[in-house]
């Protein structure tokens, strides 16, 4: 893999939106018309070579949908996707196939991403075969290397998916995604089903790929300590929008959006003086029926009248972006 121009993002989303239909009863549909769920609502985000951008946010806030849309695995309703500067939003055919090789996804749910009737070694070799890379014995050796990288043993390769533990299967999905040495990888909660020591091994592996091969990584996770350790930048998503983004250490030390502040305060710390504070008050709003103005206002301790009326604009201070009426 050659290191491309460092300034040009490997991948960039401009105002990307994804919507899903909402199932409503007939009576409601007659009254209010068809409703839509705005899973991703005008998100812009870029990842450069050798850079890790982390996406964090509440369950259901649209992180996986955004990651999949970036890889053409979910249809974007509006907005553009650029790969090395080229608009690839409407790519099809050979172009899409080439993009598939250069961009990979570690699925959030390993069970959903794997053909159950295949041996593990064939699951890992799948992309190599699909893109017709290497001879059969090269592929075999490569599968062994990949298994070793993610901490699987040779005896796991001749089993079927249901004969592995959840964490072992998660590592199979990671090995498969790395098989083609992608330039851009979306890793969706890659360590959620791993214990901390195996998780640390995987995080180190991503860091190696980034430093040695210039991998551009979008790392979706709710594990804040790991994200703060690994990522260069962190973007925080809430009900389809990015509400804050900043260099990792800056975001952790100086969170400016009230939601980010709540999120950080809820992380268990080892510092004996630290108490986990209560979660944000109030109900998580319905993604199909988001509050007007700032979507966080119904749970926000700082909410003011203007928060219900206007969508807060992105304020940029250096590398720190925040969208909140109370932030100055």
């Amino acid at each position: 893999m050659n290191a491309p121009d460092a300034a040009e993002p490997v991948i960039a989303a401009d105002n990307l939106s994804v919507r899903f239909p909402v199932h409503t009863g007939l009576r409601e549909r007659l009254r209010t018309g068809r409703r839509q769920l705005h899973a991703v609502d005008g998100v812009s985000l870029a990842v450069r070579a050798s850079e890790t951008v982390a996406l964090i946010g509440e369950s259901g806030s649209g992180k996986s949908t955004f990651g999949k849309a970036l890889l053409h695995l979910e249809t974007a309703h509006a907005g553009a996707i650029r790969f090395h500067g080229d608009d690839v939003t409407a790519a099809t055919g050979d172009r899409l196939r080439e993009l598939r090789r250069r961009r990979q996804l570690v699925f959030q749910n390993p069970y959903a991403a794997i053909n159950r009737r295949r041996l593990i070694r064939d699951v890992i070799a799948e992309p190599l075969r699909y893109h017709q890379l290497g001879r059969a014995d090269d592929r075999r050796a490569r599968v062994h290397d990949l298994a070793g990288l993610v901490g699987l043993s040779p005896e796991h390769l001749d089993r079927y998916p249901h004969e592995l533990s959840g964490g072992q299967l998660q590592r199979v999905v990671i090995a498969r995604a790395l098989a083609l040495e992608p330039e851009f990888l979306v890793a969706d909660e890659p360590t959620a089903s791993l214990d901390v020591s195996v998780g640390a091994q995987i995080v180190n592996l991503f860091a190696d790929m980034r430093d040695r091969f210039g991998l551009a990584l979008l790392y979706i996770s709710h594990d804040l300590p790991t994200v703060a350790h690994l990522a260069d930048r962190i973007a925080v998503m809430y009900l389809g929008r990015i509400v804050e983004s900043a260099p990792a250490a800056e975001l952790v030390e100086n969170p400016r959006h009230p939601y980010t502040q709540v999120l950080l305060a809820s992380v268990p710390r080892r510092d004996p003086g630290h108490r986990r504070t209560a979660p944000a008050r109030g109900e998580v709003p319905d993604a199909a029926d988001r509050p007007s103005g700032c979507h966080f206002r119904t749970r926000c301790p700082l909410a003011m009248p203007v928060c219900a009326e206007q969508v807060p604009a992105a304020q940029v201070h250096g590398e720190h972006m925040v969208a909140c009426h109370a932030a100055t």
Partner: protein, 369 residues
């Protein structure tokens, strides 16, 4: 074998449980000689390395281990032996004992809406409810886990992973009236704020209904929040049994100590960035051909030499250690975490402790955390 005295009132009493997969000539011994008791209203955590047998253990407790697995040992719920009685097992499953599965996607049928699947569960466990009441119950269940009621019309694929996980939590905890919930990594897809809501829900249910729980998780913060005591599993065996405070303040087994060291710390972000996280060298042993001695010996930093490679250590009581603050700090301030271990509470499967127990010395003298 030393064992906590089994009171007749224990809700769950597991003795000498073993689960082996595959070829009987060279079985994968995923669970070996496990003893586990859970009292009424008690919550017990199980932590351990990926592949150490935690899910296998939970599934075997409900007879869900599949035809390829051989199970041995005893499983009693409410004093009734279930181990070799499939009919009794079926009566308990989903009723007295319910389960949150590790994989939320396969736990639901992709062809039906969530509302109809939850409705069927409620009908099974609360036959007294009429159609409308049942629908209201399903809506109330979803509300308690933060899912809007109109989502009952959605199919599983239309949910985010964390939403589906919450639906499963609702199904296991709220559809019937279980006395014991077996929860396998129930919050892996939840961010910290939603997780905190689930923690509150589980605490409330335990307080309201005196529900018991076995919680499998790699999230040590969750263990601190929800459990009274914890077992550490490695290569199919329990290698440590301790209190929550004991786990964080004075972990007894070298594996537990190494595990606690691997987690990144939000308060030390600037120092740790750019470096690599500490990991354990090597990997788990092949469960079909485990080494003869201590299963952790090939990776152990505190290895004692020949004895560790040759003899399997027993699970023995660890003499109480001074509540030393170890390198990784202290227990997160939680509810259950404030009890110090009492004599006999802490047991470990490690030759270091066997040696110090015999000589009567303080256990972890000379052990660097």
């Amino acid at each position: 074998m030393i064992q906590a005295p089994t009171k007749t009132t224990d809700l769950l009493a597991v003795t000498g449980l073993g689960v082996a997969y595959g070829d009987p000539a060279a079985p994968v011994r995923a669970v070996v000689d496990v003893d586990l008791t859970v009292g009424r209203g008690e919550s017990v955590g199980i932590v351990g390395e990926s592949g150490s047998g935690k899910s296998t253990l939970l599934r075997a407790l409900l007879g869900l281990h599949g035809s390829g697995a051989a199970v041995s040992g005893g499983i009693a719920v409410d004093g009734v032996q279930l181990a070799h009685d499939p009919a009794a097992m079926r009566r308990v499953r989903g009723g007295t004992v319910s389960m949150v599965f590790q994989d939320p996607v396969n736990a639901f049928n992709p062809a039906y809406t969530l509302g109809s699947q939850l409705g069927r569960l409620v009908a099974l466990h609360r036959p007294e409810l009429g159609r409308e009441q049942r629908r209201a119950h399903v809506a109330a269940m979803l509300d308690r886990v933060g899912i809007p009621a109109h989502r009952t019309r959605s199919h599983p694929f239309e949910f985010s992973q964390g939403q589906l996980q919450r639906c499963m939590i609702a199904a296991a905890f709220l559809a019937g009236r279980p006395a014991l919930v077996l929860a396998d990594e129930p919050t892996t897809s939840l961010d910290v704020t939603v997780e905190a809501q689930i923690v509150e829900l589980i605490r409330d249910l335990r307080a309201e209904l005196g529900m018991s729980m076995v919680l499998v998780t790699h999230n040590l913060g969750l263990v601190a929040d929800l459990c009274d005591r914890v077992h550490v599993m490695y290569a199919g065996r329990f290698v440590e049994h301790t209190t929550i405070r004991g786990l964080f303040d004075s972990p007894a087994h070298p594996y537990t100590r190494a595990l606690l060291k691997s987690a990144p710390d939000l308060d030390r972000v600037r120092e740790s960035r750019g470096s690599r996280l500490p990991t354990m060298r090597g990997g788990v042993p092949d469960l079909a051909a485990p080494p003869p001695g201590c299963p952790f010996a090939p990776r152990c930093d505190e290895h004692l030499g020949e004895v560790c490679d040759r003899d399997l250590p027993e699970l023995l009581p660890v003499p109480l250690m001074p509540a030393a603050r170890t390198a990784h700090g202290t227990a997160p301030a939680g509810q259950a975490s404030d009890t110090l271990p009492r004599p006999g509470d802490v047991r470990a499967r490690c030759h270091r402790h066997a040696a110090s127990a015999l000589s009567g010395g303080t256990a972890v003298e000379g052990v660097k955390a």
